[in-house]
């Protein structure tokens, strides 16, 4: 009962001060400002979300582009025939793992390889080869830059023309919102490469 003493007195004083009209109007004005600010902020956040995102930056040969866990420097795009005589589009370049551990999912997990589009033709997903071994790229060690070749099968009806290759990177969060553990989240576009393939290997 003794503890409730100062508390009750405090509330009585508040009630008394509210009884004056000026106090009442001041408090209502503050509440209205707060309400309007909340509405404006929500509306502005919706406008920001709906804005058309900027197009990813154009990349030229020799310029690095981030693909999430690694950085890729495209060097050459060529239209070549493999040993069966089938046409392949081969993008060669250097890739470097920029994380702190060996990566098996060099292009992210679930994997998002660079997307090739040209004219109206649909290109299948490419395979990534390690040039040194002439075999699949199985993993990439940090601080070691390797030459890789990204190989697309060319559909038979495609004529040699300009191609557009889109690179995406996975976003990394050190403490995610669910378990506060480090995880790789959504993909966002990081670069566009427009080029005309050279002839030959």
């Amino acid at each position: 009962m003794v503890d409730g003493g100062p508390g009750i007195r405090f509330y009585r004083m508040m009630a008394q001060s509210l009884k004056s009209a000026v106090g009442r109007i001041r408090i209502r004005i503050i509440a209205a400002i707060g309400l309007v600010a909340a509405i404006v902020l929500t509306w502005w956040m919706k406008v920001e979300d709906a804005r058309i995102p900027d197009a990813p930056p154009p990349i030229a040969f020799g310029q690095p582009v981030s693909v999430g866990r690694s950085v890729f420097i495209p060097e050459k795009l060529a239209l070549a025939n493999d040993e069966n005589g089938e046409r392949k589009l081969v993008l060669t370049g250097l890739i470097e793992n920029v994380t702190g551990s060996t990566q098996v999912a060099v292009f992210g997990f679930p994997e998002m390889l660079p997307v090739l589009s040209s004219g109206d033709t649909e290109f299948p997903a490419p395979r990534v080869n390690l040039v040194r071994d002439d075999d699949f790229l199985k993993q990439l060690e940090p601080r070691i830059r390797e030459a890789i070749a990204i190989i697309w099968d060319v559909p038979p009806d495609w004529q040699a023309q300009d191609v557009l290759i889109a690179f995406s990177a996975q976003q990394f969060k050190l403490n995610d919102n669910l378990y506060s553990k480090s995880s790789w989240l959504q993909f966002h576009p990081t670069g566009r490469l427009t080029a005309r393939p050279e002839q030959g290997a």
Binding site: P6, F10, G100, S101, T102, V104, L130, R132, D133, D135, K138, Q139, E141, P142, R143, I144, R145, E146, L174, N175, Y179, S180, K181, S182
Partner: protein, 182 residues
């Protein structure tokens, strides 16, 4: 008015809460395997295996024979070969090895040499039997001196213990071309 004592209690509570929130270890640092350190002889006793690091070698090129064909792997950096002698303890188990480099980066076993003879990734260790294996890594030269080898059961490393071997103090014997025999 509010007594000073009440205000002090609230402030102390806020400070304690802030301190706890800022010092709580996050998921990344809590979810680590138990550390078991190898003794001076290089023998580490894990829960399911006992391992001894018998030697370290480095090489620029590694070659071996597989199904009668010669396989040769080279690297722009260097290969590190860790020779291990492992005895199983309680149950048949496969292990994995990681090299903690001198800069703090973690290097897993090289997948390019997965089918090398006596490779750790294809070996399984039985209780009571001692087997010799090798673990091959690929890394820049400066990650070797000052780095250490970690051995843990495969696929359940976080829930179990990992054996940490001593740091490499000197650069290991370097071979230009190393041949792996079964």
């Amino acid at each position: 008015m509010i007594s000073v004592g009440n205000i002090a209690v609230v402030l102390f509570g806020a400070a304690a809460l802030g301190g706890m929130m800022n010092t709580v270890p996050d998921y990344n640092s809590s979810f680590q395997p138990f550390s078991i350190f190898a003794d001076q002889d290089g023998i580490g006793k894990g829960r399911q295996f006992t391992a001894e690091l018998t030697g370290l070698k480095s090489a620029k090129v590694i070659s071996y024979a597989q199904f009668g064909q010669e396989v040769s792997r080279d690297s722009s950096a260097t290969f590190l070969i860790a020779e291990l002698s492992i005895t199983g303890r309680t149950e048949s188990r496969q292990l994995e090895a990681i090299w903690l480099g001198a800069t703090g980066r973690q290097y897993s076993q090289s997948a390019r040499l997965e089918d090398a003879p006596r490779n750790l990734s294809s070996a399984r260790f039985e209780p009571g039997l001692t087997d010799r294996t090798i673990a091959v890594f690929e890394m820049p030269e400066d990650e070797i001196v000052g780095g250490r080898l970690v051995l843990a059961p495969r696929a359940s490393m976080v829930m179990d213990g990992a054996v940490y071997f001593a740091e490499a103090e000197a650069a290991p014997a370097n071979h230009e071309m190393l041949r792996l025999e079964p």
